[in-house]
Symmetry: C3
Subunit: 243 residues, 3 copies
């Protein structure tokens, strides 16, 4: 399976052109738009979403990860093998948290380049062919490099801010849910949020936090749009209220 995680969005001509390349080079392989609208050009938010949203994929899934504001510059192209799955994309910090949290990590630089390489769409021209090749079992042309050579980031282990707003207005954060006790109280945009297990448990019109189905802390409102009601946006900071 090839899973696509990108900030291209579902509209426009980008996802389709990338898929056309994948179908041509990896016939018969299933392709999933796993997270097609990561926050635009926001490598940091994507870095925290990647581990959470790829953790349940089958072994050997190839994750094609394209958030690439530096496209066309000389930043490296990478193929990483982490805990039994492949990750392909640019060396811009996107894989920082995956590498940091992975148990079994192998980092490779991709030196291969296609005959025709556009300056602005390496997702289609470079990363998709590599991902298709890996899905078909072709792993030659990769040069192992030391993980320490990756673009280093000093991003924290836990990111206390909003990293994605979904269609329901729920705000996904960069906080690992298991690290928080039920008694934790969060403050976001001046609102205090207590823990609820399910949406139905929460009163109408009250912001609450819960452990989402991918192990991240999420801020929500039962049958209402939390982000609109509280004016939340990607990057909104979260603080812990002393108990």
């Amino acid at each position: 399976m090839i899973a696509i995680l990108t900030d291209f969005g579902v509209s426009g001509p980008y996802l389709g052109q990338m898929r056309a390349v994948l179908y041509g080079r990896a016939p018969g392989i299933d392709i999933v738009d796993l997270f097609p609208d990561l926050p635009v050009c926001n490598v940091r938010a994507a870095a925290y979403l990647l581990p959470a949203y790829t953790q349940y994929l089958p072994a050997d899934t190839v994750c094609l990860c394209v958030v690439d504001p530096g496209v066309g510059t000389d930043r490296r192209a990478l193929a990483l093998r982490i805990d039994g799955r492949w990750f392909v994309g640019p060396d811009n910090g996107l894989f920082s948290l995956l590498v940091r949290r992975g148990r079994d990590v192998l980092v490779n630089e991709i030196h291969w380049r296609p005959d025709t390489l556009s300056d602005s769409f390496h997702g289609r021209d470079l990363f998709a062919p590599i991902a298709a090749g890996l899905a078909m079992g072709k792993v030659d042309g990769l040069d192992a490099i030391d993980p320490g050579q990756l673009l280093v980031s000093d991003w924290p282990d836990e990111l206390a801010e909003v990293i994605y707003l979904d269609r329901y207005g729920n705000a996904i954060t960069g906080l690992t849910a298991d690290a928080l006790p039920d008694t934790a109280i969060l403050d976001i945009a001046g609102h205090r949020c207590h823990y609820c297990r399910t949406f139905a448990e929460a009163g109408h019109g009250t912001l609450f936090w819960y452990r989402n189905s991918n192990g991240l802390v999420e801020i929500a409102m039962n049958q209402a749009d939390a982000s609109a009601c509280a004016g939340l946006r990607v990057g909104e900071p979260i603080t812990f209220v002393p108990g």
Copy 2:
């Protein structure tokens, strides 16, 4: 074929994760996002859209239907066999109109639960595995129950209100088109709408109603956004103007 009808929307990580489960458990089965952005948490609107938008699907199609604001509570999980197709989803009224209008209806409760069941994403953890199983011909583990045991709703046979706004600004209603004569005049948001057969027949800037390609009454404007022009929203009531 598995057809997905949900309020998840096309963006975000929900449709993709559900598809990843389907691909893993029902290899080779075609999957269609038939109606991926049903109105958010609006079980009633979805209940009227389901019969109209699944009626042309091939026999034995499995319709995976997830509008589930009560996810994580003890509401039943259902697998219904209606007129030769399967429908899988929560017992919250979503299937009311399908059951009422179906000629050959068999209602089953699903008692199976996965080893790991999140509190907020039964579409991925519970309904998708069931749908995949049905698509592969596995119908064991279902307990037939009386349709009278379903969550009863007193929703009318014909719903005289807007249940979906599409990209063009057309407003789909819960009214069956065949029930209305060409002479019917509708009032919506203070505008009178006469019948036109095609868009091209209607004058510019005039709201009209027509029989849409799925058998529902739809309010539209030729080459203009009816919903924006007339300020329509989901839930907007429609009245019949005496002839």
Copy 3:
């Protein structure tokens, strides 16, 4: 491969119903939503996008092209063979630029009609079955007509205006990139745009033009939303600033 180019958008019940028909009639064929949200009812913009965004597709790809504001009228249905690919859709000018620029062009009228043909969704009822047939190698039922019989348009070879705004706020134009020297200066909405090869080359907050990955001139801003910042919309005119 079947590539879909349409103004249906990715939401709603249109793309899914069309795909359900394709899966049923062309089992095993790959389907790609190549450009699913062409500007609404804007046949002219689509006419310039089609050649650019289909040029890299494999030989024998069937392009299902539906921007069809005249649906239900007696406009012709077409199947064109252009430079080794098929194009299916309405005769409303949509294929003007493809025909004009094609080296090897064969135009066919489709006389076949399905038993049940809705008045508003020929994408599903007429064009999808034809596209599926062509993908399966069925080319009977087509009548060659003279390209001169097509709905003629006097649209220019180069369209100096915005024809699509993407998710990043980049503005795709109807100008062929190869026709413009690096020294060209464009004026759009009162802003002067110089050429940059990559996004990273451009200063923050400065509009620039570049050759996009499909050979069209595109107006953008590095890590900012050019369209929002400069108030661009589809149809925005572009002028050339004397050097």
